[in-house]
Amino acid sequence: MNALSDVLSQGAQMSLVLGVAPLLTGFVRKVKARLLRRRGPPLLQPYRDLIRLMRKDVVLADNASWLFRVIPYLIFAGTWVAASLVPTFGNGLLFSWTADLIAIIALLGSARFFQALAGMDVGTAFGGIGSSREVMIASLAEPAMLITVFSVAMIAGSTQLPNVAEFMGSDAVGLRVSLGMAFVALTIVALAENARIPVDNPATHLELTMVHEAMVLEYSGRHLALIDLSSHLKLLLYVSLIACVFLPWGTATADAGVGRLVFGALLYFGKLAGLGFLLAVFETSIAKMRVFRIPEFLGAALMLALLATLLRFVSGSL
């Protein structure tokens, strides 16, 4: 019975993140459109796009290598596994012992590595530009993310996400300035990693400043569908990571019944909607940065994360 329910809840989690991810993207797009007083595409448009892309034939460049064909599956697998490791509605999942923050960063990092390779594989100029910029952003965002994780882990005493969430939900946290800084740093990293507005514009396809879209320009058909789905998943991952670490209330504990799990899931949807709404408001109220200002923006995240760690050292050593 126990093993069965464990497998069931883990499966529910995995299919939940996969099913909800396009909805979150659709929701953010819809809110953005409404804020600009446009009607916007329907909420389910990302699903329709994915289905349409799945049906279409793949067009491959003549000089595309086998790597080019394999990479969409690698990216999708890595991102999906990473996204399903983040606790969403409940903490006590079967694989929660693997839900380590550093493992999640490593999965995302390898997905990004393959994506950058794919951008350069066909040999178009756009792909090369996209890859080089993506790697430039990553080289700043990843250290910031890692140091943020360190400061959170120093406070919570663990890099395992379920333990972190449990600690953050308890009264032992207190009032910590380090957590505030870590939150801001993580938000900046999330914006950069998901190609959201101050760093990259997710709504354009042909622009000289684009980063993510430039890398995937050569993909079509089901490959493109998989890559799009992975970027939806990545957005969901970061939003649920922020929700899990900084808004951990209401997540079901390990021994919770079905009612608690359902409650946790409902609350999780509420958190997703709230954070998605905030993201849309932020994106409509700010302009895109020049590419050469991005290092400063991400440098601020790195600085905040370092400062959070240092401040934690002071209060921890007293």
Partner: protein, 220 residues
């Protein structure tokens, strides 16, 4: 002392360090002044919290001085000076922001290592305050070193003084007389610097202090 009291003191002092970093990051003069006003307000809050924790009513006066002089009068006066000098649109940078930030982080780490080593017997609140105060002082010095514009050097100097006040309130039993005299000497320094600013500009048509180096005949 309960842990919540310590946490709030830690929060406010940490915010002060953060505000110092924001000043280091700003390259526009008006924004720099606004951040300085924020810096001084956070200082006032922090001092008021110390007054509450230590139950020392004279520290409330210190907080009031910080709020009125440093958060309101000095920024407004500097605003007017900038307007009269006509330099409000200038952007300045000596070395890159990234390098400055790294240097700042290094200074904060240094001050924490130093302060936590040398004060093992003091109580937690004072140690923590001293560590942050030293980093605010060092960051103020860093601002003064990395800026060319005389007005932003003044702002760096003022933020350095904020760090001194933080240190002084953390150590119990600073008499009010000292605090008032420090506040007034800073105000007088401010006025003198203000006069100098105009003299510098009359002479060199700029408040870039590199002109002074050139005038002294130093090679660059």
């Amino acid at each position: 002392m309960s842990s919540l009291q310590f946490d709030i003191a830690h929060l406010l002092a940490g915010c002060l360090v953060l505000a110092s970093f924001m000043m280091l990051y700003q390259d526009r003069l008006y924004a720099l002044l606004n951040v300085y006003a924020l810096h001084a307000s956070v200082l006032a809050l922090s001092v008021a919290w110390q007054a509450y924790v230590q139950q020392a009513p004279h520290l409330y006066v210190t907080a009031l001085i910080a709020l009125v002089f440093k958060a309101i009068i000095i920024p407004v006066a500097l605003h007017r000076i900038i307007k009269r000098l006509g330099i409000h649109r200038e952007i300045e940078n000596v070395i890159g922001i990234g390098l400055t930030m790294m240097a700042g982080i290094g200074l904060v780490a240094l001050s924490m290592v130093v302060m936590l080593r040398v004060t093992p017997s003091a109580d937690a609140l004072a140690r923590e305050d001293l560590a942050f105060a030293l980093s605010v002082v060092l960051l103020g010095l860093l601002i003064m070193v990395t800026r060319r514009n005389a007005v932003s050097q003044v702002v760096g100097f003022m933020s350095l003084e904020n760090g001194l006040v933080l240190a002084a309130t953390g150590a119990k039993g600073m008499p009010l007389v000292v605090e008032i005299s420090v506040a007034f000497s800073v105000l007088i320094a401010f006025i003198v610097i203000g006069v100098f600013l105009f003299r510098i500009r009359e002479r060199f048509d700029s408040v870039d202090v590199q002109e002074l180096d050139r005038f002294r005949g130093e090679r660059r």
